[in-house]
Symmetry: C2
Subunit: 458 residues, 2 copies
Amino acid sequence: MSNALNTLLHNSRPQHLQQLKDLLTIASISAKAEHNADTAHCADFVADALRSAGLHTEVIPTPGHPVVYAEWLGAPDAPTVLIYGHYDVQPVEPLEEWRNPPFSPTIEGDNIVARGATDDKGQMFAHVLAAHALMSVDGKLPCNVKFIIEGEEEIGSPNLDPFLRDHRDRLAADVVLISDTSMWSPGRPGVTVGLRGLTYVEIHVQGATHDLHSGLYGGGVANPINALSRIIAGLHNPDGSVAVPGFYDNVQPLTAEERAEFAALGHDEAQFRAEIGVAESPGEAGYTVLERITARPTLDCNGIWGGYTGEGAKTVLPASAHAKVSCRLVANQTSEEIEAKLRNHVLANLPAGVTARVELHHGAPAFLADRAVPTMIAATNALKTVWGVDPVFMRSGGSIPVVASFKSELGLDSILMGFGLADDRAHSPNEKFSITSFYQGIEASAQFMLELSKLPKK
Amino acid sequence: MSNALNTLLHNSRPQHLQQLKDLLTIASISAKAEHNADTAHCADFVADALRSAGLHTEVIPTPGHPVVYAEWLGAPDAPTVLIYGHYDVQPVEPLEEWRNPPFSPTIEGDNIVARGATDDKGQMFAHVLAAHALMSVDGKLPCNVKFIIEGEEEIGSPNLDPFLRDHRDRLAADVVLISDTSMWSPGRPGVTVGLRGLTYVEIHVQGATHDLHSGLYGGGVANPINALSRIIAGLHNPDGSVAVPGFYDNVQPLTAEERAEFAALGHDEAQFRAEIGVAESPGEAGYTVLERITARPTLDCNGIWGGYTGEGAKTVLPASAHAKVSCRLVANQTSEEIEAKLRNHVLANLPAGVTARVELHHGAPAFLADRAVPTMIAATNALKTVWGVDPVFMRSGGSIPVVASFKSELGLDSILMGFGLADDRAHSPNEKFSITSFYQGIEASAQFMLELSKLPKK
């Protein structure tokens, strides 16, 4: 990074913070129609910032909220990065738990507190400001840069996949850069290299055609709740592993090196338990908690219901019972494979006297980044340059659907360079973002573009 | 039965039917405050009928709907029967399913269709008319008779136990006679000699202190729904018997004679399955369906809930899960005993990583009548006289709380002489009562009083 850039970034900090504050005053709650004008205003705000940075910028309508697209393609011999982010935010309820109004950004120590601070306005805007700074100093960017900032991430990105398909040629790039995750810890950057996939199904168990009186029929007919409980109990082995035959067949085993890396992270299981208020943290035998929650496949019930669930006692023997069951997948399991195995297992082990249906809600593939590719090395170099320490290769147990979309629709791998922290309270009251991380994120973004410019165009 | 009585009963049929129709026009829905005037009016209607029969009659207020009490005590050397019934009815919704308005009694073939026809106005009023007929013919009753007709049975009789306690001396009797059950079949009378008791609990399973993201925590923490499913699955053995240790310790086994009686009833299991739309009717090994639903103890889940139960998919790993579980008991199990055994079993077999509470909702004792006592023989003789065939000794799998109340509060056994039919649609639209059964019920009631008069006063 040039001294000129370094100086500009340092001197611009008060202005950058003010711009972020302005962005955070916009109540761009994509889930709420009464905020549609705010959401549209937010798209324009981001577009204006990109335009003033010197990028060709468009606000492109979709059937929902618009996509802000911007590009600077003046480096024909350099690679192209497609930077993804989102300008919409989660709803703010429960409002009474906020110390200050959610769209009145407040500085508390090193943090800026507001809805969207970390998810994703603060992280996304770091890239916009980096582009602006580079253009200010050099009149150009070191590599080609495309921005795609959507306004529907918090409602499941219903229009993103069609958008990617419709603009496939225009969105061509060497790599996708996303900052919508966390660092390893304060002062220690991280790249999320693993995400778990998902198979989410609903199991419907049917007994009699109608609810029965448990006194008059109890003992003479299968009870769907008891049957469903047996089905669910049969999904795990006594050692905590998943009992669905073939469930682990395609799992890419953790290498000794990966396990050593996990061990070196010093994950504190006692603290993990204390934070969620449990005395034990059982799971698949033979793996640490950190391995189990990030790098091993799992099966969990997400919901169950049947019969009488109101106050007091009702002696009903219900006609049906239902459960939502999801599996977190790791490379190289596929959602289709696991769905089929799960369904077969449930139907093959059905208790007498009931029928069952297993319905797919949705699936998502697992993600495991290749750490050896040049773009990933560029990212880790950038982070090391800014923070002075090697970034941690992190795995998250959750899914980030857009990562799968970029792969399936555009054939692009994503680099998940997080500037947030695990305790940023995304989706919760008093969401925050570290101001230091914000400034360092801007530097890291600029540094990444500089690193990328050293690589040959694909 | 004297010729005079026989003739009177026969000639009075049109008038008796008209009186029942009048009674059935009164919308005495105890659950609905907007019908309080109707309910009060119904109490007065029944009281007037008893008064005009020549009984000393009072409408006694309670904190809820009043009790109609009547007595005729002019037979100092004869036993006393306490006849229980209720004048209140269930709500009528869904109204659109009624072929005629629920309080516009309609004759359809041999049936009178109206809310309360079988439950319990038609059955209860048969006894009132029997007393009236006996008094008309003889100027006296053959035995001492007390009526207690309450107006809160359909809302759980909240004021009955205190009423029984407050009027214990006045309610002294040799036996309680209740007609609020069914005959075995059209033309075949029955006495219900067995009722199952109940232990109804709620199981609460707690994992983490708050809901977690199933992606970020799945695999690292016990899932309360999965744990609850294991708990519930562990409540039964593979042979369908209840796995709670000691559950069967106090069960009075079915005798060979009782089992032969059950077999002789010709219960059609294929028809049972067809009526409720199931292909199999699994349950405790070694017993027929009829034995299992009436004479064997059972355990059923009545409700279960936890996590996300709305539409679509939510990847929550919930903090808690809950189930309502009830056991139907038979003589000589006690609710207290089974509650304790169930709780101990659940807590002793708790999956790792969760805690649990087992809360009692309520219990009710089982009822098994002694068929050899003179009052029971009087009842069966009366039924045989009217219908010309031996009554069936029936068992019902459900509970009738007032039977337990009469035993606990007054020390009295009940005779359950049902005039209804299993398909009378009590609590449902188009409730009906057989007009033939109504007339025969009047005869049976009169005949029972005559039979009772032959017995020595206790």
